[in-house]
């Protein structure tokens, strides 16, 4: 059995009251714009027969201007609540006769079907219920058949509940201020276990974790851990928080801790026997965090060449093992000559004759020039605050080594790199 609470012209301010009334009777409730349908099966032991249940609901919603309908299926309950005032209880099996006088508009047919039925003179539930089902199916299709069954009060369907919004958060106010990382990690471990346990029960994972620390001086300190993959492993999150807080300490005693995980669907990975070796995402993330703590932020990642005319322009992006293509092999008889770049370029004193380098003196690079090639003039970004303009030379020294020199205005020489 189902009960419908219908409030004509339901205002936003009345929605919480409607929800409270409905939730008081059953957790299985479907909400719409102006009504709520409650599954009242099982309430007979508390309230008695359907009439008593209906009266209890009507008493609860008194003052909201609501109408209540009780019937054997949700459609009939909604139609009864919308069609009749006050409390309407339809005994099982009598839906057709109880709803017969209701206008067809309560079924909300599509415009085209409404026009067709009106042209046939169909105005009420009884008129539609009197039509043969086969004829309705031939002329109006399955939608028409369903409409007829609703007019008969015989259409069954399950309730469509709202998706519960789960919030994966945990927090704790500390009895004493925490200044050191180790005791803070103890607290974070407990909160992470709660959050990851909640994620696990909902078959979800998280790829973002927000940490909020309330400090003794009243400030709030926030850190966000973003992962390229979703996980619900508390240890992984704890380790990442540990490395992050070690690199970015709050610098004040902590009085409260709050953690929030952003839930996402867990990743689905299909392994294979012949897939090339790749770093495990969790291990990789922890390793990168530890390396970053060693070498500093922005010094570990994948190089990406920038599409610009500036020679050697690149940026470091976050490394995440991409999906690899089918394995191939590159073989060559003559490998490409590589250059090692000095960062920053080595200042050099170059003895030049008619602009051609004859002798180079720099840190670790000294000698007479045996062979030179150049200059190659390059310049760009003239309209920007950082234009460049210099000449490049390839030189081989008599003492050994092949280097790339750079001369930039007014007459500064640098050793840019060595061919190795």
């Amino acid at each position: 059995m189902y009960a419908c609470i219908y409030i004509p012209g339901l205002a936003d301010a009345q929605i919480p009251a409607l929800r409270e009334c409905a939730d008081a009777f059953s957790p299985n409730v479907e909400y719409s714009e102006e009504w709520a349908v409650i599954d009242i099966r099982g309430l007979s032991k508390l309230y008695g027969p359907p009439e008593s249940i209906g009266k209890a609901i009507a008493q609860r919603v008194a003052g909201l201007g609501a109408r209540v309908g009780v019937a054997a299926n949700p459609h009939a309950a909604v139609a009864a609540a919308r069609g009749f005032s006050g409390l309407t209880v339809i005994p099982p099996g009598e839906e057709g006769s109880a709803l017969s006088t209701l206008p067809l508009d309560l079924l909300a047919p599509e415009q085209e079907m409404r026009e067709t039925l009106e042209s046939w003179g169909i105005r009420t539930f009884a008129d539609l219920a009197a039509l043969p089902e086969t004829g309705i199916a031939e002329r109006l299709g399955t939608a028409g058949v369903r409409l007829r069954r609703m007019a008969c009060g015989a259409e069954q369907r399950p309730l469509i509940r709202d998706k519960d919004e789960f919030v994966f958060e945990a927090g704790m106010e500390l009895d004493h201020c925490v200044e050191l990382l180790e005791p803070l990690l103890f607290v974070l471990s407990r909160l992470l276990n709660d959050i990851c346990g909640a994620l696990s029960t909902q078959s979800l994972a998280a790829n973002e974790l927000e940490l909020l620390l309330n400090l003794e001086d009243g400030r709030e300190f926030t850190r966000t851990i973003c992962l390229p993959f979703a996980t619900r492993d508390a240890q992984t999150f704890l380790k990442l928080l540990q490395y992050d807080l070690a690199a970015h300490p709050p610098n004040a005693p902590i009085v409260a801790v709050h953690l929030r995980a952003i839930p996402v669907q867990p990743r689905v990975v299909q392994g294979g026997l012949f897939v090339p070796l790749a770093p495990q995402p969790e291990k990789l993330e922890l390793t990168l965090a530890r390396i970053t703590a060693l070498v500093g932020e922005g010094n570990a990642g994948s190089p990406e060449l920038i599409d610009t005319h500036r020679p050697g322009a690149f940026q470091l992006t976050r490394f995440s093992a991409p999906e690899t293509k089918s394995p191939q092999s590159i073989t060559c008889a003559e490998p490409r000559l590589a250059i090692r770049i000095y960062r920053p370029p080595l200042p050099a004193k170059v003895l030049a004759l008619e602009g051609r380098p004859q002798r180079v003196n720099a840190l670790g690079v000294n000698g007479s020039v045996a062979v030179y090639a150049g200059p190659w003039r390059t310049s760009g970004d003239w309209m920007t605050p950082q234009p460049w303009s210099y000449d490049e030379w390839d030189v081989a020294l008599e003492s050994g080594g092949v280097y790339r020199l750079r001369r930039q205005p007014p007459n500064e020489w640098f050793v840019e790199g060595n061919y190795d």
Binding site: L277, K283, L305, K325, S329, E334, P335, I339, A373, D420
Partner: protein, 220 residues
């Protein structure tokens, strides 16, 4: 057979057996792979030589071949000298490359240690090419044994580049690169172009291989 001869004979036999147990990863350089088979997996390979001897060229060819096979490479750059443009030109897929830019030798060694222990890499490179040998001599030998232990049960190749051999007995393969002649084109002294360099690769370990591999690298 006296004792010293017997010890030398047994030592060679053990090394031979160890070499037979390794799986080799081709470098993609035909001349080198045909003579040696490539570089051993699950072991340390050391490449040493002075500036402009071809160490980086060798490295980029190996990286390009392994990336083409779908493996991931990590370069721990002790002196921030890596050139991604050269690597991309050689054929390396930079998305499969992790570059760790260090400013001190200690950072480089610890980063390499973390990578070796994390697993999943096809190639881990510890680039000490521009580090002065006197600084490297302060690194305890036990570090190299630690690297050897960590890599031996994995399919990764651990490559060390340096001016001198540092890993020594811990390396399963040790290559010495001698600077070859640079090749220039152009008739006139003032209109020349660097075309490439000759490379001389001498395998020092395994002991059984006394072959010199001559390579010619091509400039861009």
């Amino acid at each position: 057979m006296d004792r010293s001869a017997l010890a030398a004979h047994l030592r060679t036999k053990v090394q031979l057996q160890q070499q037979l147990d390794y799986v080799y990863a081709p470098t993609g350089i035909l001349g080198f792979d045909s003579q040696t088979g490539g570089v051993p997996r699950g072991a340390i390979t050391e490449i040493c030589g002075p500036a402009s001897s071809g160490k980086t060229t060798f490295l980029h060819a190996l990286m390009a071949n392994l990336c083409a096979k779908g493996e991931f490479c990590a370069v721990v750059d002790a002196t921030d000298s890596f050139d991604p443009v050269s690597a991309a030109t050689a054929g390396t897929d930079l998305r499969q490359l992790l570059w760790v830019r260090c400013s001190r030798v200690e950072e480089a060694i610890r980063s390499a240690d973390l990578l070796v222990h994390s697993g999943g890499w096809g190639l881990i490179v510890l680039d000490l090419s521009d580090v002065k040998p006197e600084m490297m001599r302060k690194v305890p030998v036990s570090y190299w044994y630690r690297f050897k232990r960590a890599v031996e049960n994995s399919p990764a190749t651990f490559l060390v580049l340096g001016l001198e051999p540092y890993a020594k007995n811990c390396a399963a393969m040790s290559l010495e690169l001698q600077p070859g002649k640079a090749v220039w084109s152009g008739a006139h002294r003032d209109f020349q172009l660097l075309r490439g360099m000759d490379l001389d690769v001498i395998p020092r370990r395994p002991v059984r291989s006394h072959v010199r591999v001559h390579l010619h690298s091509r400039a861009c």
